[in-house]
């Protein structure tokens, strides 16, 4: 971006920003670290942004996953609590809230009051979207400018687009990590139940299916999970340490 000598905030070349985000190795960074990076980069590169936060929509609720400071987090929370405000609107509509001068906007009275108290002069929300679904927003708060310049909102928008891609991948990766863990637990349980069946088969000379029936009936009668009964049985046949 060409330098401007009219004193407006300069946004450095967007290239390194996009590259830095895009180069994040998902296997080595947690989602939280990633969002911290988004927040700190946005604050450094978007003119007028004195505070930045990321709001995410999870299970139908909004939360601030990351913020550059507590003031910004509190102002996000005010919006969530009353379900209205520039960032809430950004997420609901999927459209970037064009910069809002805090003073005198009648749409969000609670937010305006809270923001004024904290000397915030303008706010902008930029949507984070994945496959046409708005999953959150990058929220820009300023205590210095009355409105964010169009070129700064452009930078924010570019930023949000990059962040959305990486976020989508990170979220997908995290859910596969959860699956990995759940699968591992299921396989461990399966093995223990198999061992228990084997023990019953050896003790009673029955088939594997009959061993399962026995465990299942016992668990029904005792009102306990079959897995727990199996664990106890397997424990009970092992030698005590001498």
């Amino acid at each position: 971006m060409p330098d401007q000598d009219d004193g407006t905030a300069l946004a450095p070349d967007r290239g390194p920003v996009a590259t830095e985000l895009g180069a994040v190795l998902l296997t080595e960074r947690s989602l939280d670290e990633l969002l911290e990076l988004v927040v700190s980069l946005a604050r450094r590169t978007i003119g007028g942004a004195d505070g930045v936060s990321v709001s995410l929509s999870r299970d139908g609720r909004l939360l601030t996953s990351n913020s550059s400071d507590e003031v910004v987090r509190e102002l996000d929370e005010v919006q969530y609590e009353h379900n209205r405000g520039p960032c809430v609107e950004t997420i609901a509509s999927g459209i970037g809230t064009s910069t809002v001068t805090v003073d005198g906007d009648a749409r969000w009275p609670e937010f305006n009051a809270a923001a004024s108290q904290r000397f915030i002069t303008s706010v902008a929300g930029v949507p984070l979207a994945v496959q046409d679904r708005t999953i959150g927003s990058i929220n820009l708060y300023s205590g210095t400018v009355e409105h964010f310049a169009p070129e700064d909102l452009e930078v924010a928008d570019l930023f949000a687009r990059q962040a959305s891609i990486v976020l989508a991948n990170a979220v997908a990766f995290e859910s596969s990590t959860a699956l990995n863990k759940n699968l591992q637990e299921a396989l461990i349980t399966r093995e223990v139940i198999g061992e228990a069946k084997g023990i019953i088969m050896a003790q009673t000379h029955c088939s594997p299916e009959e061993a399962f029936d026995q465990l299942r009936r016992e668990s029904q009668q005792a009102n306990r999970k079959l897995r727990v009964l199996a664990e106890e049985l397997v424990q009970s046949v092992q030698h005590e340490p001498s």
Binding site: R190, K197, F212, L226
Partner: protein
């Protein structure tokens, strides 16, 4: 014709993959897509053991939710 197993599954609030993981943990060996297809068809082609493992997975979940355990065991 509605599938009883399908209705039961829907009442558990479990995602398909979560149900399958519970079923596998209890000793089931049918892959997830096939299991879901069988549930939709009320388990007509499931052998008795696989069907009972599924029944147990569903019933244990109902028990967690403090609900009645309605799925019968075919091997009883």
């Amino acid at each position: 014709m509605d599938s009883f197993l399908q209705t039961a599954f829907e009442h558990t609030g479990l995602s398909p993959i979560d149900l399958w993981l519970r079923y596998v943990a209890l000793g089931g060996s049918i892959p997830p897509q096939d299991l879901l297809a069988q549930i939709a068809r009320d388990g007509a082609e499931l052998d008795a053991y696989q069907r009972d493992v599924l029944a147990l997975a569903l019933n244990e979940r109902f028990h967690e939710l403090d609900m009645d355990t309605p799925v019968p065991y075919v091997r009883d």
